[in-house]
Symmetry: C2
Subunit: 220 residues, 2 copies
């Protein structure tokens, strides 16, 4: 996270009101275990209980201030991280989960498990994003499906499970480059089809959260 956000080498500061997030911009703060390591290559060799403790500290002891959105990026799966976040935030009325997949059936099978998890713990599914959805060759401008949609991709899965498909993100080599440099892909490639797709997805998530907000009339 520190690398992608251009924050490598930054440190978390502690004040009377808790840990301060590291700020990319005035309105974008980040907290990550990555800030607490002495080297970016250090392994965090922790079993579940230690990870759960850190998640609790990040939710309870960070001085986030007044924020509109808190985005938690989880690893894939349905284990400690996922169970703990849902438990710790159970009284916070979480808007929901955004689930990222790729088009092939082997990935969709894991995503169905993730949706089944969300339903079991009563976490609303805001929607699914299909990533790595086609690649336009920079040389001949023709599109290939690198991860073929053998079972209809995220679109078919969403229809079957009755969850919204938020959009599809095509592969763009610039995404990897921007992330490795800690730059904003959306700013560096404003006209890429992936940028347009990403902006649409963000808009749909915002609309969902606005409609879902109990203080809608107060805050608008």
């Amino acid at each position: 996270m520190p690398k992608i956000m251009g924050l490598e080498g930054e440190q978390v500061h502690q004040s009377g009101s808790g840990w301060s997030p590291v700020y990319v911009e005035e309105n974008l703060g980040v907290m990550s275990v990555g800030f607490l390591l002495s080297s970016p290559d250090d392994a965090v060799i922790w079993r579940g209980p230690k990870k759960n403790g850190m998640i609790k500290q990040f939710l309870r002891d960070v001085d986030w201030g007044e924020i509109d959105y808190l985005i938690v990026d989880t690893p894939p799966g349905t284990s400690d991280e996922h169970i703990s976040i849902v438990q710790f935030l159970s009284s916070a009325r979480v808007d929901g989960a955004v689930i990222i997949t790729t088009p092939q059936e082997v990935a969709l099978q894991d995503v169905r498990k993730e949706i089944s998890f969300c339903r079991k713990v009563k976490l609303p599914v805001i929607g699914v994003v299909e990533n790595m959805s086609g690649f336009v060759c920079p040389k001949c401008k023709k599109e290939s499906q690198i991860f073929p949609l053998t079972t209809g991709g995220a679109e078919m899965m969403c229809r079957t499970l009755n969850v919204p498909l938020l959009g599809k993100m095509p592969l763009d080599p610039q995404i990897g480059k921007s992330c490795d440099r800690g730059h904003s892909f959306l700013a560096e490639a404003p006209h890429s089809p992936a940028t347009l797709s990403c902006r649409n997805i963000i808009q749909r998530i915002q609309d969902y959260c606005t409609q879902n907000s109990p203080q809608e009339e107060d805050t608008i």
Copy 2:
């Protein structure tokens, strides 16, 4: 795993000598939590201790018979699964770890953590495989780097950390198709550059294990 191996719907049988693996061929047996679920979409919502218990059962209670290789496919990371497998097999003289990465720095950073983990727990690193290493457009036959090597890819990392690079696997849409159908990619696409690369990598791992074997003179 059941899907990729073409074993979906198969069940594990229990006998006096333990659980029997499910066989793809006479010389290839598989064990997976996937065989124990009532539906392939069921989420396995387990915290660390339960996962560790299942790993122990898979190592202790499965009647593997006489085998040449036991391959354990782990999730990414350095948590319960990794710590437990190393602990449970500590007296078994494990040959080592094969670490899979993609070419971009954001992935390599995680792989450095994985290598640092292996060193801490004294697990030899057999080598690193660079996956998704270039894509040849099926329309114009020209190659693109979808995940650009902003820091020299796995090759540079392996040189810096003094671990072997076992090979590079290019992207091939047939891989995803074969996996989704539970077929062998190596058999379905015998002339793909990815197949040739994969066979080279397998050969290098076999060579390592043969050289490393204490019973070399007995078994050959």
